[in-house]
Symmetry: C2
Subunit: 210 residues, 2 copies
C-alpha cells in the first residue's frame, strides 16, 4: 500500500486528511504523550493513524526514527519563528521590550499548539538542535543590548537566558493541573492568557523590587 | 512477615537500613520515575524494596495508596521549610531580599534531594496540598511587601507567584539534559549552583532592563 491508498482508512478525523507520513507523526506524538514512548507499540500507532503496519518502516526505518521525526517537527515549529525575532540587534530599549513581548507570545502559542509533542520531548529529554541555536541567539541579543546600555550591566546573561522558556514550558506542561487547581485556562481563556503573558514579561523586564 | 524481618532481605543499599514502609516509598518513587506509574508492578516494587508482596497492601491498601504516600512525602519535604520562611511579613526591603534568597536556595536543595519523587509528581500531576498553601503564603508575603513599598505597585503578584518555582522545577527536571548539552552540573558543582541561584534571584528581584 502507498500513502495515497492509506488515507482512505480509519484515521482520527483531525489527522485523516493529512498524508500518511504526517498522520504517523501526529498520532505518534499523541500516543507517546499519553502512554510514553515505551508504552506504545508500532502496531498501535499504525492502527490509530490508519496506515498499514509497514508504513513506519517505510518512512522512518523504525520506532526510534519516528520519535526523531516527532522531535524534529517540534524543534522546527517552536523555535524557528522566535529565532527570527531576535536575529538582529535591538535598536532601542523600546525595541528590545517590544521584541521580548513578541518572543514570549509566539513561543507560548507554539508550545500550546504543539503540547503533545512538547510533553514527549520533555519526557525523553531529546536533543533539540534548534533550541540550542535559540538559546545562543538570545544570549547574543541580550548581551548586545547590555553593551548598548538597554540591559543592566550586572545581569549574568548566559545564566538567566533560560528563564523565559522555563516559565512558558512550565505553564504549558502543567496546564491541566493549573486548570484543575485554580480554574485558569491558558489554552482557551484569551483574557487569562494575555494577563499571564504581560505579567510574566513585566516580571522578566522589571523584576519584583520597588 | 513483619517490617522487622523484612529489613534483612535484598533491598538496595541506600534504603536497606530504613523500615519497610519507608523502603517501599523510596523504591516506588525511583521505579515510578524510571518507568512511570503504570509501567511498574506491585510485585516489582516489593522485590526491589526487599519486602514481601503483601506489604504494599499492609501499609498502603493498594498501588494508588502507595503513590499517595510518595506524593505526600514530597509535598511535606519540599514545601514545609520554605513555607516557614515566608510565614511572617518582611520588615524591610533587605529582609525581603534575604528571605527570597533563602527561599530559592532551600526550595532548590529540597527539589534536588527529592528529584525522583518530583518527577513522579510532575508526570502524574498529583494534587499537592502544601504546594497550594505555599503559593498562597507567597502571594500574601509579596502583597504585604507591596503595601509597605518594598515591591513594585505595578506588579501583578498573584499572576507571577509561580515564576520562582517554575525556574527551580525546570532546572531540576532537566538537570540530566542541561548536564549533557552544556556540561553544567547543578547537583554536584557547587560553584555553578551558587552562580545559577544568585543570578536567578537577581533576575526575579531586579529584572533585565537597565
Amino acid at each position: 500500500m502507498d500513502a495515497e491508498t492509506e488515507q482512505k482508512t480509519g484515521a482520527p478525523s483531525h489527522v485523516a486528511g493529512a498524508p500518511a507520513r504526517q498522520r504517523l507523526i501526529d498520532t505518534a506524538a499523541r500516543l507517546f504523550a499519553e502512554k510514553s514512548f515505551d508504552g506504545v507499540s508500532v502496531r498501535e500507532i499504525c492502527k490509530a493513524a490508519g496506515t498499514g503496519i509497514n508504513m513506519i518502516h517505510h518512512y522512518f526505518g523504525n520506532k526510534d526514527g519516528l520519535l526523531a521525526a516527532v522531535v524534529e517537527q517540534f524543534d522546527t515549529k517552536v523555535y524557528v519563528v522566535p529565532l527570527r525575532l531576535i536575529a538582529s540587534p535591538a535598536k532601542s530599549q523600546d525595541d528590545l521590550v517590544a521584541r521580548i513581548e513578541l518572543l514570549f507570545e509566539t513561543t507560548l502559542e507554539a508550545c500550546l499548539a504543539e503540547r503533545d509533542v512538547m510533553m514527549v520531548v520533555m519526557r525523553e529529554q531529546s536533543e533539540l538542535a534548534t533550541l540550542s541555536a535559540f538559546q545562543e541567539a538570545l544570549v547574543k541579543f541580550l548581551e548586545d543590548a547590555q553593551a548598548k546600555g538597554f540591559v543592566r550591566k550586572s545581569l549574568d546573561v548566559p545564566m538567566i537566558s533560560g528563564a523565559m522558556l522555563d516559565r512558558i514550558i512550565s505553564q504549558v506542561q502543567f496546564a491541566p493541573w493549573i486548570l484543575k487547581s485554580s480554574g485558569a485556562d491558558i489554552e482557551n481563556d484569551t483574557e487569562y492568557r494575555s494577563r499571564w503573558t504581560s505579567s510574566s514579561v513585566d516580571l522578566f523586564l522589571r523584576g519584583v523590587l520597588e
